[in-house]
């Protein structure tokens, strides 16, 4: 009898019951939980960097301790200019993770919106595809260089540039996934039941296309972080004193033999971030699919 009541309560779905289902399934996956914890720590570090380490340390030159290995004073050692690497890695998280995640999220949303229009309306699709053909003719590195040269190097401009460069790719990839979903019977069925295009996209099409999109997005975050690093290295990216992880790796190249820790810590930070994002992505994909687990 109590079961019956419980069932009846469950019949009326509300947003949070669907959400709690996803959470339950997510928590059942240990790898995803570990990835999630690491990512939470990284996000925590990003937000509370100034609480953990005083900001002055990022650019404070310690002429007496250039290229010193990790010690109690400098946990991660110091670089060629005597700056504390621990502080730089901590503050670098804000820049690198911020650029990667921010640019990916923005371009994902824009890309998904354009792709949905393509999937639903044939005529718009024709026009949009031709525009994208033209845009993709320009090499993306060249486009990024030009944009950054015009706007000047700053964290915000870097994000805007990476977003512009990666939107066409997102549109193409998401569109091909959506086209597969749009022709499914249950989409037609929802239409016959009177579902309007916007609801159709949000409730039926995107949720069923989410797996490849999430995998795609998580991969993109790491590649965005690397692109940011590459652009910084060329000198059009984030300006030098800023502790961008990729840029730090690039400085470390010259001292790789004498001071390997200079590359080790930013490198490990990039790898750890990418790994945790990928684990979370995999976990989300499984958790969003009601077929996994009971």
């Amino acid at each position: 009898m109590r079961d019956q009541k419980k069932f009846k309560k469950m019949i009326h779905r509300s947003r949070d019951s669907l959400f709690s289902d996803v959470v339950k399934r997510y928590l059942r996956n240990p790898a995803a939980v570990i990835g999630g914890v690491i990512l939470l720590v990284i996000v925590f570090v990003c937000i509370f960097a100034n609480v953990l380490v005083p900001e002055e340390l990022v650019t404070a030159y310690d002429a007496g301790a250039m290229l010193s290995p990790p010690s109690a004073e400098h946990w991660f050692g110091t670089d060629n200019l005597g700056r504390d690497l621990f502080a730089r890695v901590i503050y670098g998280a804000r820049i690198t993770v911020g650029i990667g995640v921010g640019a990916t999220l923005v371009s994902l949303v824009i890309g998904a919106a354009i792709a949905s229009i393509c999937a639903l309306f044939k005529k718009a699709d024709l026009v949009i595809m031709r525009v994208i053909d033209v845009v993709t003719c320009v090499p993306s590195i060249l486009l990024a260089l030009v944009l950054l040269a015009i706007m000047g190097g700053s964290v915000l401009n870097m994000m805007v540039t990476l977003t512009i460069v990666s939107v066409p790719g997102f549109v193409l990839r998401i569109r091909s996934v959506l086209l597969g979903v749009v022709d499914q019977d249950y989409i037609h069925a929802a239409r016959v039941s009177g579902t309007r295009p916007l609801k159709l996209v949000l409730r039926h099409i995107l949720p069923n296309a989410i797996d490849p999109i999430i995998v795609d997005a998580t991969m993109t975050i790491s590649s965005m972080m690397l692109s940011a690093a590459g652009l910084s290295f060329i000198g059009v990216g984030v300006a030098p004193p800023a502790p961008e992880w990729g840029a730090m790796l690039n400085y470390a190249q010259d001292y790789f033999k004498t001071a390997p820790y200079m590359a080790l810590f930013p490198g490990a930070a990039i790898a750890l971030t990418a790994l945790s994002i990928n684990l979370v992505g995999d976990g989300l994909r499984d958790a969003l699919d009601p077929k996994t687990g009971k």
Partner: protein
């Protein structure tokens, strides 16, 4: 305006509440470099029929004959290339999307494949409630829940299963969900597109009985599309036989069954395997030569002539309609 009202009255008198007039659907098959089609798939060509109110019109034919296309045109999934659809005297094909919307509530579809026609990410209850939400048919969450429970019970499901996902149901139960979803908006007319073909034999009978029960209870009208003649024979009051996008024979079910006129209808009935010994004895088999031709640029004249054992010179011309008996028509030169 007066004319329209007159029409409407007439339709109601005749009990034909849905009429298709010269419905034609051509899909582009091949395109040239600029995306302009150079050849067309003739999915349906000048298909006209009337659906009697509260009855079942069976549509039979083999794959590629356009029977599903016809159903999808009626429900606005495909926009017909030409032709008109009248619903109780109103011409649906002339309406704007906004004007057409109320009719979406009154016409529904049950799909062939109960596996691909349910959104795998939604719970059964929400799938069924989709139409209720879209047309704001429930004023409160409690009312919505009540309606979903009522629909599920009506279709032989347990209301407790509303919280389950589609993959947790068997094929037959999934088809019941599809039917419940179709009924959610209180429709008058339902297109059943091969609604039992994907199911196991013992489950097919359950679904057919359910459809019949619902028809009586809610005075529904069905367009029952199937390739299975035995099932169409059992469920339909009237029948149309389609071949390569055209109707070749139409009439009341019993008359067409007893007195098959078109050579294709004869072949179709004889090809349907019989399993009772009595039936087997009665049957004279007629096996057709060759394959169904491609619907891309179909043959001129009678489309069946390439496979017809009685084909002659005159079949190169388009055949006209002939009355075999009252309420039974055939499109074949043999009846000239």
């Amino acid at each position: 305006m007066m004319q329209a009202m007159q029409n409407e009255k007439e339709f109601k008198q005749n009990h034909y509440f849905l009429e298709a007039e010269e419905l034609t659907m051509h899909f582009p098959a091949k395109s040239d470099g600029l995306g302009r089609p150079v050849s067309w798939i003739h999915a349906a060509d000048a298909v006209s029929f009337r659906v009697p109110k509260g009855k079942t019109l069976g549509v039979v034919g083999e794959s590629g004959c356009g029977k599903s296309t016809v159903g999808k045109m009626l429900l606005n999934i495909y926009r017909p290339t030409s032709g008109k659809i009248y619903y109780e005297g109103t011409e649906l094909t002339g309406l704007s999307a906004k004007e057409r919307r109320p009719y979406a509530k009154r016409m529904q579809l049950v799909w062939q494949d109960p596996y691909s026609s349910l959104d795998p990410r939604l719970r059964a209850g929400d799938i069924i409630a989709e139409g209720i939400d879209n047309f704001h048919l429930a004023s409160s969450a409690a009312q919505r829940r009540e309606r979903v429970e009522q629909l599920m019970t009506m279709c032989g499901l347990f209301p407790e299963q509303a919280a389950n996902y589609p993959h947790q149901f068997s094929g037959g139960q999934r088809q019941r969900i599809c039917i419940a979803r179709a009924l959610a908006t209180d429709p008058e007319f339902i297109v059943c597109d091969e609604a039992v073909s994907a199911l196991d034999v013992s489950i097919q009978a359950q679904i057919i009985n359910l459809l019949k029960d619902l028809q009586e209870e809610l005075s529904l009208t069905y367009l029952f599309i199937s390739h299975d003649l035995n099932i169409v024979h059992f469920i339909s009051d009237e029948i149309i036989v389609m071949y390569l996008g055209q109707i070749v024979e139409r009439g009341t079910m019993e008359k067409v069954y007893q007195n098959r006129a078109h050579p294709y209808t004869k072949a179709l009935f004889s090809a349907t395997p019989a399993f009772t010994p009595a039936e087997k004895q009665r049957k004279n088999r007629m096996i057709l030569e060759g394959d169904v031709p491609s619907p891309v640029d179909p043959p001129q004249g009678c489309r069946f002539r390439g496979r017809c054992p009685y084909a002659s010179k005159r079949c190169e011309e388009e055949p006209g309609w002939h009355e075999v008996e009252s309420d039974h028509f055939v499109r074949c030169h043999l009846f000239d």
